[in-house]
Amino acid sequence: MIKRLLEKTEKFFEKGGKLEVFFPVYDMLVTMAFVSPERTKSGAHIRDYYDIKRLMISVIFAGLPAFFFGIYNTGYQYFVSQGINAGFIDIMIEGAWLVIPILVVAYGVGGFWEVIFAMIRKHEVNEGLLVTGFLIPLIVPPTIPLWQVAVATSFGVIVGKEVFGGTGMNVFNPALVARAFLFFAYPAAISGDSVWVATGSKVVDTFSGATPLAVASLKNTTPVVEALADRGYGFMDMFIGLIPGSIGETSTLLILLGAMFLIVNGVASWRIIVSVFTGGIVMALVLNAFAPTPESMLALPPHYHLVMGGFAFGAVFMATDPVSSSATMAGQYVYGFMIGLLAVLVRVLNPAYPEGMMLAILFMNAFAPLIDNIVVWNNIRRRKQRATE
């Protein structure tokens, strides 16, 4: 029955049909609803069931815990800022009320551009947007104006991806390009102490929306770890994540849960994840050694770095983007290590950019092709050497 229905509708969208230009849209809807019995025509007669859709869906599954926690935390911070003790249901409703519109805008605007480009280029709609549209809400503060989400998503999709030729050709991670755009175009909306918590009309005096990174970079009078703890940012608090921050980035615990899922099913490169963390730890230890006083941010212990800001989220969901990361096995170690290293370096030594993770990943995205090239040159050199033996 389904087959007959599809055959009937398909003729409108095929070449010469009335609605030919909309074929990508039609194709997207059909392939989302059904797996078609398309046969192999040449080459291998059987093919792995794994495809790009499965890959992208797996990433979203991995991100769901952080996403739902983000909704909860957004609602939680909303009530805390007003000194109200709310129940779980109220918190989730308020959180969803603040977060879901951002998700809808990111998917709506991103989807719009994706379809436009698919129609112009006459190819199928790429699945990459499923992930980009999902990640953008997780890396912005809950107070972000929706129109900025729309502009940033457009920028991320068009400049970050489509100008390079679409998914698979892009140099930078489109979601991070969107975030970087916000950071530089509308700094007031994405930095400072007041944007990280969606507050109500009245805010209790004792409440501060400063993020742990902001607190750590202040001129503290007590050792940095104590200064954090005084503000309620003990290690475990930050690990669990009921703290102000970008919507999906606060809970290291649930991000690691997602990471486990991605590593077990092999969708994300464990090499990258592990080396990002290693790079961060190494840099933090080096900075510790040079810390002038225990009050300085240089003295922040390594494990604190890993649970603060977007470090864990970046390591698991951003650095591992298969398109913009290093493609060679050897390259992935270098790529990941450098991200961790740079992220900690930037956030400690440049107080203007407390969130160094985003910049570190974008920077290494740019260098990933170079790293891969070195691996490729090595392969070519080995072969040449063998030939002259």
Partner: protein, 455 residues
């Protein structure tokens, strides 16, 4: 002697392996020789419909070398010359008379070990057995004028549902050894034979063979591919570093020719695959019509493949076995739309990735096999680099970068990245696992063709 253990690769756990029984098939009414079986061959036809042919009568030759002929495996009449697109010869079909009248050749009156290269090459050419010899690089029929650096034989088969090499060789050890002795005369270097390293005792066929190098290979497919073995034993160094390869089938036939002084035509075929009804081995002849040994009625939506499911060619049930094949794979074609198919847990969906339940099930039940239909399972996308191709290519080659250099038509880069070391069968698994569903085998051939054209 090398003992190579390979980790990379993928053993496809497919349903429908052939049982190790060999049955005599009915002598086929029709046989055919197909120019398309031979890579980059430009054929010149030598017969006309109605012509009487014997076993060994040349049917067509290569336009580039008229000595390279392709002969009839049966006696009878030329029934038709089927042409495809742009009048390319698709197949030369012979109606057999069952008498197997043989064309006479002048056989050298020497033992295989006493033969000289000049005795061997002309006879292989005239009898139509020379095409068994394949050259690397490029994977096409060898040039009779070349003296290869080495000759490689893979006496093991790791491809999906492949015919068991031991079943093929069993009882023919003498022929195999004679074949090796003949091949020894053709190279200035060594004859290398690779055998399955998991078997404790080597096959009787290679036991006690002198003057060859025997290597043991262990690992999942493509460990049995001769290209992989060359890479690990004595890699190809460049365009002019020529080695020859030959399948055990070819070795047997060459042994037969020089021992029995007759053209060999027998071929043991495995019939396998999830849709195959009668899965076993059949003894028939080269180029036989499938019908003659696969005579069960099959419904629609069944795919017959001469060869394995990764590299074989689709044929019809009244079509013919390809020259190099000893396997017919029979699988289902997909017919049903699957609602929200990409969300399923996939307990029956075989995948190298660990994103389907099937992977975890087969951890618990390693003996379990899966059915795979001839479905593409996704849409074509750009290469999204995910390190997946390297996992199934046990060679020091960066497959994605090699393929990208072909797309960029950068010959120097292709050479640097090792295009001379691979042919289609070596990257077939990359094509199988590719989530972006690219035609990787075809792309590799485009690259090789490009190099040949540019000289």
């Amino acid at each position: 002697m090398a003992d190579v253990k390979l980790k990379k690769g993928y053993h496809l756990k497919l349903e429908g392996a052939a049982a190790g029984i060999v049955e005599d098939a009915v002598f086929p009414d029709r046989v055919a020789v197909k120019p398309g079986d031979f890579i980059s061959l430009k054929p010149r036809i030598l017969v006309e419909p109605g012509d009487d042919v014997k076993v060994g009568t040349p049917l067509f030759c290569s336009k580039e070398n008229n000595d390279l002929v392709f002969t009839s495996p049966a006696s009878g009449k030329v029934l038709e010359i089927v042409r495809g697109e742009r009048r390319a010869i698709f197949e030369v079909v012979i109606e057999t008379d069952g008498k197997q009248r043989k064309r006479r050749f002048k056989y050298p009156d020497k033992k295989p070990a006493a033969l000289k290269r000049e005795d061997v090459i002309p006879l292989l050419l005239k009898t139509g057995l020379f095409p068994y010899l394949i050259q690397r690089p490029f994977g096409k029929i060898a040039n009779p004028g070349d003296v290869p650096r080495d000759i490689f034989i893979s006496a093991m088969n790791t491809s999906p549902l492949s015919a068991d090499c031991n079943v093929i060789l069993q009882g023919h050890e003498k022929l195999f050894k004679a074949g090796i002795a003949v091949l020894k005369k053709l190279t200035s270097g060594d004859v290398h034979i690779s055998i399955d390293g998991t078997k404790e005792a080597p096959s009787k066929a290679v036991e006690g063979i002198k003057e060859v190098k025997v290597h043991r290979f262990t690992g999942p497919h493509p460990a049995g591919n001769v290209g992989v073995q060359i890479h690990h034993v004595a890699p190809i160094k460049g365009k002019d570093d020529i080695v020859w390869t030959i399948s055990p089938l070819g070795v047997l036939d060459i042994g037969y020719l020089f021992l029995e002084h007759e053209i060999p035509v027998d071929r043991i075929m495995a019939v396998a695959g999830s849709a195959a009804i009668n899965r076993k081995y059949f003894k028939t002849i080269r180029g036989a019509q499938l019908f003659s040994f696969i005579d069960e009625p099959y419904g629609d939506d069944i795919r017959f493949i001469s060869g394995n499911v990764l590299t074989g060619k689709q044929v019809l049930q009244d079509g013919f076995i390809s020259f190099y094949d000893n396997l017919v794979s029979i699988i289902h074609e997909p017919t049903k739309y699957e609602f929200l198919g990409w969300t399923t847990l996939g307990s029956k969906k075989l995948s190298l990735s660990r994103t389907f339940l099937s992977y975890y099930i087969s951890l618990i039940r390693p003996e379990m096999n899966f059915e795979q239909k001839a479905s593409i399972n996704g849409g074509k996308r750009a290469f999204i680099l995910s390190g997946i191709y390297e996992k199934v290519l046990p060679m020091d080659i960066l497959p994605v970068f090699l393929l990208k250099s072909i797309l960029a038509e950068d010959i120097e880069e292709m050479e640097g990245l090792g295009i001379y070391e691979v042919i289609e069968e070596d990257v077939a698994l990359c094509e199988y696992v590719d989530p972006s569903k690219n035609e990787i085998q075809q792309l590799l051939r485009q690259g090789l063709d490009m190099i040949e054209r540019e000289g």
